[in-house]
Symmetry: C2
């Protein structure tokens, strides 16, 4: 019998372990989710709002305990984790509000004409969703994070896979969620959790699972995506993966290089650089000493970095070596400590010629590492940006006057290959609002039109069904003339508010 | 130098040929589409409406010539083809209207708060789309059909792959489209076409192609989907594929068995059974002689069937043999002619025990072939429906009174595994309206949330980008405060009409 062992990143010591789920246990948990699916799908968004509120309340009620446990396993710090727990509770409430608003159902009705039948189109929940949370946000993107909150809000049961980097926290969160849901009257099987690598693989291949949400590395996300693509019935995998997230300075922005350098360092070292939105590459005009200035800013900030896992710490270190092999040179480096899973924070510089197809510089180096590439002309910067992989975010740094002559060109250039564009604003924060987009072109996301944060997160877990010539009493309840959920809708092509 | 040869299905004689595109030609056509993409994306929906109107006008202006050519290559009949050409022109106009309405851009704005930045989210065209049209609808789902119309309406250049079953028509349609677009002022490269199997493979692997639309067989659709999944930058493939499309009669509907049998025969033999929405399976209560009645209806109608290609004719014949091997028996068969690519029209019957996992009865037999399976109880029917593949459509036949006691259960059962549910209405017609859904769970569609017909068809060819803290002049034009396209939008969570 195997177990998933938890470690303290600050010391590398063992913190505990959780027994891995056996194959029969995984099947049982999926079976319970599958049995609950029709009942969950039939509940109104207002009922599900009570469930999500109950989970949010439970998180807040157990805040101190949960933050201590999370800090023990992740070393992300109590302040950050307290903020993140509060965020996770707010997200649960936000997705419930999005469901109650009802646009996610996209109710559309066509009256019959002489040549066309009556049609009523409405989204339906897909069924049980497997959620693989992230290592780096144990609350916000963890087993009760955006994916779980948006899937439950959309009317889908969830089976989460516990993250090995904080398995004790996952187990506790799972217990709290199940208790809260039971007290709030949700069907048994609305939320379940499995533990262990093999259990995760089995989860994706279980026929009753209808979609997968994943946040993590490109290697992990594409592996799950390939696995799902080999099923008899292929299911969508919404994998949000790591990317380079370029930032580009306009020529005029060099007037404020020291401010930009400090902001860039703060952003790429935040949370030890363990953000999927970390800006990993700064394109700057040559001849203004930007790389050196970023190096000085790093030395001045002198951040220390404890990484989430031994593997991540090692990959950050070998990643720096690979960047050097790829043509970059180290400009500044702060020393790691010899306790636990510490890593150097590093600024490198590289010539723009190093940004060619196949270059290591085009790939993410997860951790507190960034590369400054100096460009000779804006045309060269545009060409270099065209070489990059699809990214979650891209940042344009202007002179701040609102009249920077190169801003428009660089903004439209980066928008072709990113999901979110930030202007004079670092990308590391991701607001959970209606207009948020946290997904981008491959390989930032396996489904480039999807988002794991923001109101549209629910759209991943529903699919439309059209009902033709179907008498009102036999339509799904929310689509009936009585309009019990008070939905916004489109009638004969015209939008109508609720 | 290879060529694609066209044949007359009525006689099997050669009708002509078109030279296959060389690899360099394919690259050039894609390059022109790629060069045109930014300009196409920047045009307003009203400008693109003029382009689509011009193509529609050209189709109608060349109606007699096009119908004659299509009938020569497909044998679908001048009446049907004239109607389909009119439909194709109307579709081009419909998708343009959907674009002008503007909801497909999903404009969403969040005002900044103390803790969140300003965000503006708007959909952007993906870029060049490869379109693989269907054999069975040379106008409606062909190189100028739904996929091309919705991609152009959404602001994406299109490179179509000519269908080998009507390659002469494709070549002519391509010329007309290019001429119409040029006259209407569209950039060169807005529409291109390639010919030949190898050219189609190359098209999917060309880096500049950003999405694929496909209508056809499961084998063809999944092959393209696998090819796209092996790219460095994976792109979405929207493959709409053939399925069984079950119909189920309630017990009470047996009061009108002869009417149902006649309707079923008319639907499954329409267009020689060459509809992706053909109902291929009728589940009927045992003890009412439904299979025999369907057999009598077929004998009475005595349709003849000329198939689109030799391969389709042969597959229809071997498909019947496979159904017999799978446990079905032939109830009625009308003889094929010995001229050209004729096929039998066939009704088979099978016990419900034949509907087990792996059974040939669960797969589509493309052509004028259908199976009647009699069930002993409604519970057995529900179980049998649960064995079926995902389908584009599913039909429930009731007693027509609106109070049929089993209708609600069977409607909700089939809705779990189909994209469109028709009640007392055969599924073979597909209206191009706002509420249409022509897509379904795998393997009906490679992307179960997508549709190739109806207003939502545009959604496949755009992706969202959020602009954070971005001054108004640097937002994409339609997202600016001046609102030049007069878009409906969501502001701080509230829908606002245009």
């Amino acid at each position: 019998m195997t177990a998933t062992v938890s470690f303290r990143p600050t010391t590398g010591e063992r913190a505990g372990s959780v027994r891995d789920s056996l194959p029969g246990e995984v099947s049982d948990i999926v079976e319970r989710a599958s049995s609950a699916a029709p009942e969950v799908a039939a509940t109104s968004p207002r009922e599900r709002q009570l469930w999500l509120e109950a989970i949010a309340e439970s998180l807040l009620d157990h805040r101190d305990e949960l933050v201590r446990l999370a800090d023990c396993e992740t070393a992300l710090g109590q302040e950050r984790l307290t903020g993140e727990l509060t965020r996770a509770a707010a997200q649960l409430r936000f997705y419930a509000e999005v469901a109650v608003e009802g646009s996610y159902l996209d109710l559309t009705t066509d009256s019959p004409t002489a040549t066309t039948p009556a049609l009523v189109r409405i989204n339906q929940p897909l069924g049980p969703v497997a959620v693989f949370g992230a290592s780096n946000f144990p609350f916000g993107f963890g087993v009760l994070g955006n994916d779980t909150a948006s899937a439950l809000a959309a009317g889908c049961p969830v089976v989460a896979k516990a993250h090995p980097a904080h398995v004790l926290l996952c187990a506790r969160l799972g217990d709290l969620a199940r208790d809260a849901l039971a007290t709030a009257g949700a069907p048994a099987g609305t939320f379940g959790q499995v533990v262990g690598f093999d259990a995760g693989v089995q989860l994706v291949t279980e026929p009753a699972i209808r979609a997968v949400g994943f946040t993590g590395s490109q290697a992990g996300g594409t592996a799950l995506w390939r696995l799902a693509n080999e099923r008899d019935v292929v299911i969508p995998v919404f994998a949000e993966m790591g990317t380079v997230n370029p930032a580009v300075m306009t020529p005029a922005s060099t007037a404020r290089t020291s401010e930009v350098a400090a902001g860039f360092v703060a952003s790429f070292t935040l949370g030890s650089g363990q953000f999927c939105t970390k800006p990993g590459l700064l394109l700057a005009p040559a001849g203004h000493g930007v790389a050196a200035e970023v190096g000085r800013a790093l030395a001045a900030a002198a951040p220390s970095a404890t990484m989430l896992t031994r593997g991540i710490a090692e990959a950050a270190s070998t990643g720096v070596d690979a960047l050097v092999e790829g043509g970059a040179e180290v400009v500044a480096r702060t020393g790691r400590s010899d306790k636990g899973w510490s890593a150097d924070t590093v600024v490198l510089a590289a010539p723009s010629t190093a940004l060619h197809v196949g270059s290591r510089l085009l790939e993410e180096c997860f951790g507190p590492v960034a590369v400054v590439v100096e460009y000779a002309s804006v045309d060269e910067a545009v060409l270099a940006l065209g070489q990059l992989q699809g990214s979650l975010t891209a940042t344009v740094v202007t002179d701040g006057t609102g009249t920077d002559p190169h801003a428009a060109l660089l903004i439209s250039t980066v928008a072709r290959n990113a999901g979110r564009v930030t202007v004079d604003d670092w990308p590391t924060g991701v607001a959970w609002t209606w207009a948020q987009q946290h997904g981008g072109p491959w390989p930032a996301t396996s489904a480039p039109g999807s988002t794991s944060v923001g109101a549209a997160a629910l759209d991943r877990f529903v699919r439309p069904v059209s009902y033709q010539s179907t008498p009102d009493p036999w339509l799904p309840e929310p689509a009936r003339a009585a309009d019990p959920w008070r939905l916004p809708r489109r009638v004969d092509g015209r939008l109508e508010l609720a």
